[in-house]
Symmetry: C2
Subunit: 182 residues, 2 copies
């Protein structure tokens, strides 16, 4: 009962929308610039088998014609996925796993009411701002040396987090504004 990898959650989210085969997933991962996961069969098929073994996915037989196994969520799988969706962003995730946070947020809107997404963004903003303060406190970072490019690379990190903070503000406003309806 260990927790899935980022790829695992992406699969759970996708097959929760519609039945998909391993091949479908490979196509999605290779043709979608959004969140890129490996489209290699050596990653997808073992991941599907793991998720099925844990009881989160159920396979559907080919049903004649071309060989093709599609997967969907079991009730337990959906519970597991929703539990993940409902987790508030943590500091650790902000520091090193922004991609995984964005993946979660992307799936959040279709499985939970808008209020969840709003609270997600509020927690995210808090953590990002707090991390930005740490970065400012840090400034000239040891390790990368006092070189010009080291300082500039540091600035790039700061700018990236500032962009996320600004986005979170805008996104929250958009959700709150249109929130009553969806």
């Amino acid at each position: 009962m260990r927790s899935p990898s980022a790829l695992g959650y992406a699969i759970l989210g996708l097959v929760g929308q519609e039945l998909l085969s391993g091949y479908d997933l490979r196509k999605i991962f290779s043709h979608t610039p959004f969140d890129h996961f490996s489209d290699s069969p050596g990653a997808i098929y073992p991941a599907l088998r793991r998720l099925e073994r844990e009881g989160w996915l159920k396979a559907s037989a080919p049903l004649g014609g071309r060989r093709r196994t599609t997967y969907g969520l079991t009730p337990a799988g959906r519970r597991r996925f929703v539990a993940w969706l409902e987790q508030r962003p943590t500091r650790d995730e902000v520091v090193g796993n922004m991609d995984s946070l964005m993946l979660r947020f992307a799936f959040l809107g279709e499985a939970r009411p808008v209020a969840y997404a709003v609270r997600f963004l509020e927690a995210l903003s808090r953590e990002v701002r707090s991390h930005l303060e740490d970065l400012r406190r840090f400034r000239q970072s040891p390790g990368v040396g006092p070189s010009v490019t080291g300082a500039l690379a540091f600035d790039a990190g700061v700018a990236s987090y500032q962009a996320y903070a600004a986005w979170a503000r805008r996104a929250r406003a958009a959700l709150v504004k249109g929130g009553g309806r969806r």
Copy 2:
């Protein structure tokens, strides 16, 4: 003679500045918010052994007192590291490995003349802009569904790349301006 992982390059870059032990590296990775690599002994020590086995690092004996093995670059290690530094940012790296690109840039300034960093930024800008066009062409991404949060998460990705593009412009200007001296 395979190429090092991101952790491997980070180690090569750091021990290229001064002799460092595995423990030193762990401290740098755990107390530095810059680029976070694992500070776990299970990652560091095997990585050091690999780099040494490839002939890129040389270990120095403890020299009395407390047991402590420090590492430095061999000439081959420096060549390998510089060859990595000189690589222009590629499309693939921009799409999925911005962290690794920033690591490279951070080390670039102390080992190569400023002109290299300027060209690095120019190539980076090109690739980022081209990727942004692709994203725009994409818009409502299949896979994440047409949910509100899916679209917003997509926007976050766009905003993040825009922040990098703006940073690259500023950074290039800063380098060109102060460039004659350093």
